[in-house]
Assembly symmetry: C2
């Protein structure tokens, strides 16, 4: 079979306060177009459909519209699971009816063991779950998610049809993956994700949770990543979906890019440069922008003046120099406070104190001395 | 056709802080039993399925379980609309799939004009809406819901099949109905409900919103009332559902009672009586109880002592005597403050001030006089 693997839609997510619904809709439209162009047999969504357990109504509206479009109107089988951001119970609403039109939405561990059968492939849908769910299902104690997963996969394998390929769709941190800033850590009381080796019996594992497609270096176990950049740390990631061809005797996996409707960029410049048309006309100033200001001086009304030019500022940070790792000339204990501060200031800023700053320092130290007496 | 008419389930509602989910589940089980016994062709739920636009997850779980049971497992056509307590967008989730198994859930005005066709009856599902929705649909201004309803019904009637009976399911206040305390008033900026006469062209109107089955005195336009008592003011209401037989040339409507899993009762007694086994062994003390205390004295640790005997106390009120309407012996202006207070006290309590109370009064009045100087 050939399917499209996506995940982490996070519908309703806001980026530093900016609504992303329009961008999310455009990304889903691109996914739909890719599915059509690639003539896939199914669309797999590996969890975190919503960004919050109680999404806002406009997020629900967007979700309702697009699952209806993709499944009922376009006729694609949808294979979806809940992720750690979804409320399993809320997301479950309607799922008993969805399966009548091949929209398989699984939110409970107990539903993971009956595969969705395609002519040459079995697809197992394992929603995100916490160890307590495994304890209730298997009636035994699990300290780690890895221990629970071992039993889950063992039970799944009893359903394996040896004549078919076996695909697992799930939503966990797989050891060895690299994180970004926008995935909520799944770790609970020291438990972490699951090991790559536990997944070796599947012909393909379609993962959700991490937002970068390259988070894991494994041929048959992949994160699709999110369809949009959801944090500054994802700004250089290429976003898209995997087109997976799998069967008992073949495997192929190709990446298809999603063009970001609005990009995230990091710029480093002085305030003066940023307000200079010669500078800003050369950059994509309606992108979501993180600004690193090279200035050190106080800038009155800075944010408003920047926003007049850059409508989608995510954050403005002063550029801080790298902490120097060279050792100080003299041991700290041997320096008097004024000399110690002067030395620290020079290491941190590559500048020396001005006369005014030296005066502030002297008065500050005197005040401390007085207060201590 | 023969259908069961219920409404105002308010799943997730709490009664003075008490969770009602268990009682709600038992009421739905009774509805299911009545539907089976009466061999109805469909179950009509006239709005307010949930109590809140964002119901708690345990409420969602109960709702999901029972719509699945009634429609998919038992096979009843369900005809339901959103009420003023429901979020139309949230409730809509899944509805496009529901109709594949004759679960018709309508949450938008635009969906009201296409009737659900039964062999001898057309059923129109008109969800609760606000005038703004009519303005968007008809592209004209409406000041009152009555004006909007007039146009809505006129458009509906264009779909009338003269060979069939016509049933309307909706969720509004119909003028002339009597309210209780647990229905949120629909009035917005002075607009009120719809007139009974506007509904005359229907063979039956299945209403939701008011919680008493007798709120309206009309043969063919009825509130089913809520399946449970949802406020103290509903304590004497008989709860249940209507079994409606309707066709082009016949009509019959019978009430089928729901036994309250836990009743609401009002008791009037003294604290001493209430704690006396001879008293409380004769009453249903595990009912939801509103207590009118006849005592006037301060009772230390009152609530805890009462709760030890009565686990589900809704409220405790001191019994206040009816305000006397007899005129005072002398016009108020001619009485000195002590005499005026004495007279008021006697009228209000049928008692005279004790010596201590008279002393408090004198000292209080003196303090006021002093403060005023």
């Amino acid at each position: 079979m050939r399917f499209l693997h996506t995940a982490d839609w996070h519908i309703g997510k806001k980026l530093h306060g900016y609504d992303l619904l329009q961008e999310q809709e455009q990304a889903i439209q691109q996914i739909r177009q890719i599915a059509a162009t690639e003539a896939v047999d199914a669309i797999v969504i590996a969890g975190d459909l919503y960004d919050r357990t109680v999404p806002a109504t406009d997020a629900v509206e967007l979700f309702n519209k697009w699952i209806q479009q993709l499944n009922l109107t376009d006729g694609w089988p949808l294979l979806a699971i809940s992720g750690n951001h979804d409320s399993p119970i809320r997301l479950e609403t309607g799922s008993a009816w969805f399966s009548q039109s091949e929209f398989y939405l699984r939110t409970k561990l107990a539903e993971a063991f009956q595969p969705i059968e395609f002519p040459d492939t079995q697809v197992f849908l394992l929603p995100y779950f916490e160890p307590i769910a495994a304890r209730l299902y298997f009636e035994q104690e699990y300290k780690t998610i890895q221990a629970a997963i071992t039993d889950v996969l063992a039970e799944m394998k009893q359903q394996f049809d040896p004549a078919k390929a076996h695909v697992l769709v799930t939503h966990f941190f797989v050891s060895g993956s690299s994180r970004t800033d926008s995935e909520t850590t799944l770790t609970i009381g020291g438990l972490d994700g699951i090991s790559l080796s536990a997944l070796a019996d599947f012909d393909y594992v379609a993962l959700g949770h991490l937002h970068g497609k390259d988070a894991l270096k494994a041929e048959r176990v992949r994160y699709s990543g999110s369809p949009l950049k959801y944090s500054l740390s994802e700004r250089t990631q290429q976003k898209g979906v995997w087109i997976v061809d799998v069967g008992p005797d073949h495997f192929d996996c190709q990446f298809r890019e999603i063009t970001p409707p609005k990009d995230i960029q990091l710029v480093t410049a002085s305030f003066q440069e940023l307000l200079d048309p010669a500078y800003y006309e050369l950059i994509q100033r309606d992108a979501f922008l993180a600004i690193q200001l090279t200035d050190r001086a106080v800038i009155p009304n800075m944010m408003n003046r920047l926003r007049a030019v850059y409508p989608y500022i995510l954050q403005v940070e002063r550029q801080t120099r790298q902490t120097q790792t060279t050792t100080l000339a003299q041991p700290v204990q041997q320096l008097a406070p004024p000399a110690l501060f002067q030395q620290f200031f020079t290491k941190a800023t590559n500048e020396t104190l001005t006369a005014t700053q030296s005066d502030w320092l002297a008065r500050g130290l005197a005040a401390i001395k007085e207060a201590e007496q």
